[in-house]
Amino acid sequence: MFRKVLIANRGEIALRIISACKELGIRTVAVYSEADRNSLHVRFADEAICIGPPRSADSYLNVPAVISAAEIADVDAIHPGYGLLSENANFAEVCRASNIKFIGPPPEVTRLMGEKEKARMAMKKAKVPILPGSEGVIQSEEEALDWAKRIGYPVILKASAGGGGRGMRIVRTAEELPNLFRAARTEAQNAFGNGDLYMEKFIERPRHIEFQVLADEHGNVISLGERECSIQRRHQKMIEEAPSLQVSPKLREEIGQTLKRSLENIGYQNAGTVEFLMDEDGKLYFIEMNTRIQVEHPVTELITGIDLVKAQFRIAAGEKLSDILPAKIELRGHAIECRINAEHPEKFTPSAGKITVFNVPGGNGVRVDTAQYAEGVVPPYYDSMIAKLVVHGVDRAEAIARMQRALGMFVVEGIHTIIPLQQRIFADEDFRAGFFDTKFMERFFEREKQKNAQ
């Protein structure tokens, strides 16, 4: 096992990784920006090194600063957490060159999965169901009409170079296609300097379902089942749960086997998450793979009893999955996570500042992952998530009841949080019935607006 590890992250995930290290007997080195001098990840690490000013680009995302800190602290390994440098293949390569073990897959795999089209093709080859779409760039309106016919309407046009909705058009009939194609191409050209478009099947009410995998460095891959992450606001997940009501044991087993085969072929290593969209008929389509630990990993930990971050370290130290995991993975009960963001619960403006009161709920079946504390400060420079409230119950009904009582006992004063919004979601009939998709929050806000207007 490693002697000493640098944690190239901040906030709750840095503390989560430090906790795992402490339990494994690994010494820890925190890095921090000047804004995080009084953070708990600094307090609870064995050593701490200031690597730059508050802006992430100058500190947490500054590869030379992080690597220098690793060198002067003389660590064996770096855990990147999520976000920041976690999916930066160059960083993983510098680690390798510096003879420091990067806790994650090799840079080649990270790079492959980072290029969406290549990842899609690799998964398609391995027989993972992917969203039907055009192969490569569509050159003309005629070609677009042809693809749309093969894929079946509705389809969506997307900019090859793009993101954030620009150069994107939903097309429902052949009649409207030519105009929309031209509009998308112009928009993409203006936004990205590149007018290339491709086409995918459009799902009106998709669910976001993802599978957690672990892979050792001896060619073995295992799937630990799925998480349901459809409750999102502007593509940001807010609530995640496991298992999904929509995934039958048979489907879980099938996807698990397919992922095992495909990721063994690709040479995947360490923890990863394979994201799918589920259509209205319950069919899953691969969209992308995240080559790191995920924010919402605790829900999988609670139902499987497996510590995923410890597993990451043991995998990176060369252990085999068969030595890390129980012989048979059993899913037990139901887990739900609420992200607690420091945001105004209606306007969603970030709410940085000093926390005056911080009462964390506890008791049976409640887990809180946070690096915040009473009298602590939420700096304005980083992600607004200040805590994850996770519950475990014998079934979804108990988990929901438990989350409601825990949300009611989570007292944060001095800043705004979305706790009141989370409470309203858990009181929502559709949510409680499991009747939702990634458009749920839009409808939810619409319903609230109408109610308030009455």
Binding site: E34, R37, N38, R43, D46, E47, A48, I49, C50, I51, G52, P53, S59, P64, A65, I67, S68, A69, E71, I72, A73, D74, V94, S98, V377
Partner: protein
């Protein structure tokens, strides 16, 4: 810190050095200091010396030498950190801080003459030292003109971002 406390600390530091202690932690009410000199071989110095520990202590633990009113650590910016060590004796001095994390070297090569010594008069823009990061030798320039009155780190010592390197009496 009064004279008696200072003497105790000096005794402790000498003792630590004698015993070849490579790491040192100091915790007080609301204050925690960690040092680590173990591990990789330093290219030019064979081990930590007492001055090095003292300098790091001074740099990392402003509260020990600051006035009692400052004893509970507030969110400290680098400026406060740099200014705090012996605010009384550093009053009026300009502190040159490390702009990067790395290893401090006084000279361009082992055995070569140091870029700057205590007592030297330096210009703004003049090279004072090197901080090595990822095998790159980064020349650190003075951001003030004046006389170097103190060097706050030793050759081969690891330095944080914002760590004080030199104290200059500005012209």
């Amino acid at each position: 810190m009064n004279a008696g406390q200072l003497q105790s600390l000096k005794d402790l530091i000498e003792f630590l050095k004698q015993q070849n202690v490579g790491e040192f932690e100091l915790e007080q009410e609301g204050l925690k200091v960690r040092l680590n000199f173990g591990g990789k071989e330093k290219p030019t110095v064979s081990g930590p010396d007492a001055g090095q520990i003292a300098a790091l202590l001074a740099a990392a633990a402003p509260a020990t030498s600051a006035a009692p009113a400052a004893a509970s650590p507030a969110p400290a910016a680098a400026a406060a950190r740099a200014a705090a060590p012996a605010a009384d004796e550093n009053a009026g001095l300009h502190i040159v801080k490390s702009p990067i994390v790395g290893t401090f070297y006084e000279a361009s090569a082992p055995g070569a003459e140091a870029f700057a010594k205590v007592g030297d008069r330096v210009e703004a823009g003049q090279i004072l030292c090197i901080v090595e990061a990822m095998k790159l030798m980064n020349e650190i320039e003075s951001d003030a003109a004046g006389e170097i009155v103190k060097r706050l780190v030793t050759n081969g010592q690891p330095v944080e971002y914002g760590q004080p390197l030199f104290a200059i009496r500005p012209r």
